[in-house]
Amino acid sequence: MRDDEAINAAREAVAIAMKQGAVAAEAVASLGSRFSVEARQTTVTKLERSIGKSLSLRVFVEGGRKAALSTADFSHDSLRGAIARAVAQAAVVGADPHAGLPDQTADSIPDLGLFDDAIAARDDAAGIDDVLEMERELRASDARIDNSNGSHYAGGVSTHALANSNGFSGVYSTTRASRSASPVASDGEHKRTAHYGTAARRLDELESNASVARMAARRTVEMFGAGRPATMRVPVIFERDVAAAVLSDVFSAVSAANVAVGNSWLSGRLDERIGSDAVTIVDDGRSAGRLGSSPFDSEGVATRRTVVVERGILRTFLYDTYYARRLGAATTGNASGSGIGPNNFYLEPGSGSLDDLIASTGRGVLVLDTIGFATEHATGTFSRGARGFCIEGGELVGPIEEFTIAASLPDMLAGIDAAAGDLHFDASIVAPSFRVAQMQVSGI
């Protein structure tokens, strides 16, 4: 039913655009519903429910001139008015031989296990029980946890339909559930907060309330008594969540949209060594049940598995149709709304645990959390505020905070000398914990 509604909306938008003078058009219609709940202590503090829809349309006129439209108003008259404006807007865009629909779209739409009835049918009361349980678990886990910034559960269903003027149409639905907790602890002198959150496509793959609360509680109280490290150059271990943040910067650098305009330190480096042997990076749109999986991308191109970096050698950038044509390559199925996006983009895991990684590090720093987003993508300059632990003789010796870690991304990738086996697909960009042989730590 929802499939039909979405696909009809996408087809109608394409038909209107063609009638109004477009030479090609493509529409994505999305329908979604979402429930979310927050509790603090024993009180349910937020209940939100939404039913939303959106339509994204690309219209092409003669000469590869294009315009994009997004709207939530599907009514025929409003759609006609908005599409007329988009077609007029396209006419002023510069002629561009590379712009246009993809040459080949997905010829089948496999079921990748992205929809879970247990999430779709879940009762609101079950979500409310979740957040109250997380709050109870937080308080039970440590006496210093005396306050909360809120525990959350959210569950939602989305249907995505795509149609284009070459006759392609396809639709698929997904579910997503998430849990998070943000306790506040006090030792009488200082307050501490931390956050832990996780998400999955299937309810039975979602981390339990107790586990989410325990992780958030541990992250909060373990920082009591933190000092500041000396300014030094040492090995730095990135715990998996912050390792994933580093990998997001690598994604920006391999995105063809950035490469094409010189805004990537990897421009011109194809087939060169850009990392150590421990660095194999994959983008996979087809793995079953994962958050970054989909049968086709936002242009209707079949997703695939792409090895981006193979044992340190840069094999390819990630493309949509436009940037592939512009850079003389083939699309990798990474079109995403207005740009190029990750499917499941990850660093291949090594073996062993984070503890093993720590034990094999004589003196260094374990980073558990970073703040800031100062990566200069043109040059690869990387610098972040951080908190974590000092490592001495392979053991954690005390929490540290209010320091920065810095290096260039090229030096960091070349310096990755070990990765743990703790890869966990709870986002579309993920990484196992890894160690960089040497980075600048800046403290006192």
Binding site: V261, G385, I405
Partner: protein, 466 residues
């Protein structure tokens, strides 16, 4: 967008289980964007959204539902969903709410204009591209963008007021990439505000934006690695206001304080900064990005004294937290769109003039960095550790600028950094208008401003040993 009787009906329906307060937020937004790349208009985009959010507040709890379907039936269902939060409350007789229109005087109203011709936007980004390329032969890429947005909001509260605000927002910006001596450099500049694009005809030309971005990109090509370690820092006028926003501003938002999460909870009247430090937040400044006629709960934008001569004076309040804290709202309830509930947020946060000249501040600095402009920042609320990112900075030795430094993150602790302010310049000004603040997944436009100041010790996160 929806008629006045329907607002009244929705409010009555939303409060059918009781509740302290309810509001209906209706929004229409029309946004245009053009991007210029490779010497031609590369992308054009149009976004037209509208929808309604309905909220019911009971104590510290809130129920919320939104709909982009404006039919009476869909909106009544949203009102029922929002009312669900009050289902377990004490039984109350349903109230009948009648709303009436209230006039609003927005500071930026006088500069509203209608949409310009497409050709006019295209001409602006073309001029940015041409000027940036002409600035220096080392310029290899220019990405220019222009956006023009009009947001209209109607907010009806169960107190019976219906207010309307109309918020234009334009931005013209350029990212310039330069290559020289095998090094890359990037520079960014953007400006605009709650004005019409005629701002770029005379007040702020596309050429001035392009040349500023190109100049910074060349500074960064020539930059040496930033130092690592603790040192003196001069924070440049204008975009240095990012420091106030992160080091103090977020910690003074009332949700964190009412919940007891912020380190500034319960500290009104206490010393929280050097006595040289005074900080205001103002929603009423003509043209600034963070200005509002009314906030997203219908409360008029205001001038707020946050810190006065180092003493904490008050928090930024939305309705829910103000009521629970027993004070009045300060026009700080803002939201990204009808899809979200409001949160207490900053508008335009700034520090007024102090007594020192910039020359005196520079001359007094023995060894440190001069951070002239900032790309953004982030803060951790409970302990107050923050970062902010230098996008144009210089090494200073013995009172003189020695060399530009590459991008670096500065890390500090809010109360410590504010206590370590040892000089405040007499050159206060607002930053170019392009900053956006994110909180709880919601982005809103903000302004920041500051004179040149000096902090006696802060940690610079470069890669070069001190």
């Amino acid at each position: 967008m929806i008629d006045i009787d329907l607002f009244s009906q929705l409010l009555s329906r939303a409060l059918r289980n009781g509740g302290d307060y309810a509001d209906v937020f209706a929004e229409r937004r029309d946004a245009l964007a053009y991007r210029f790349q490779d010497g031609r208009v590369h992308e054009s985009g149009l976004s037209v959204t509208q929808g309604v959010g309905i909220r019911v507040v009971v104590g510290e709890a809130a129920g919320y539902a939104f709909s982009d379907d404006l039919s009476t039936q869909a909106l009544m269902e949203a009102a029922d969903t929002a009312a669900h939060i009050a289902r377990n409350g004490p039984a109350r007789s349903a109230r009948t709410i009648r709303v009436g229109e209230v006039a609003v005087n927005a500071p930026y109203r006088k500069s509203q204009t209608n949409r310009a011709d497409v050709a006019r936007y295209v001409a602006l980004i073309e001029r940015v591209d041409v000027a940036a390329r002409a600035f220096d032969p080392r310029v290899v890429a220019v990405n220019a963008h222009v956006t023009d947005e009009l947001q209209e909001v109607w907010i009806a509260g169960s107190d019976g007021a219906l207010v309307y605000d109309r918020r234009p927002l334009v931005t013209l910006g350029a990212q310039v990439i330069t290559v020289g001596n095998g090094e890359r450099g990037a520079g960014y500049c953007a400006d605009g505000g709650r004005i019409s694009i005629s701002f770029f005809d005379d007040v702020r030309t596309p050429e001035s934006i392009a040349c500023e971005a190109a100049r910074v990109s060349i500074v960064n090509v020539e930059a040496i690695a930033a130092p690592a370690g603790e040192m003196e820092m001069i924070v440049g006028a204008g975009s240095g206001g990012v420091l106030l926003h992160e080091a103090l501003g977020h910690g003074l938002e009332s949700d964190f304080n009412r919940r007891g999460v912020s380190l500034y909870s319960g500290r009104v009247g206490q010393r929280v900064a050097s006595e040289l430090v005074t900080i205001y937040d103002d929603g009423n400044l003509a043209e600034e990005r963070g200005s509002i006629g009314v906030d997203d709960e219908g409360v008029a934008g205001q001038h707020k004294v946050l810190v006065e001569n180092g003493v904490l004076r008050g928090y930024m309040q939305d309705r829910l937290n103000a009521r629970l804290m027993g004070v009045g709202p300060t026009g700080s309830g803002r939201r990204q769109s009808f899809r979200s509930m409001p949160q207490p947020r900053m508008c335009n946060t700034y520090m007024p003039d102090g007594a020192s000249s910039v020359d005196e501040i520079l001359a007094s600095t023995k060894r440190g960095i001069y951070a002239k402009s900032f790309g953004g920042g982030q803060v951790e609320i409970s302990k107050g550790d923050f970062v902010f990112m230098v996008s144009e900075g210089y090494l200073v030795e013995n009172g003189k600028i020695v060399a530009p430094i590459k991008h670096a993150t500065i890390v500090g602790n809010g109360p410590e950094a504010m206590t370590n302010v040892v000089a405040v310049g007499n050159d206060s000004r607002f930053a170019p208008r392009h900053y956006t603040c994110g909180k709880g997944g919601q982005n809103v436009p903000v302004g920041v401003g500051m004179p040149t100041i000096k902090i006696s010790a802060i940690t610079v996160g470069g890669t070069r040993d001190a």
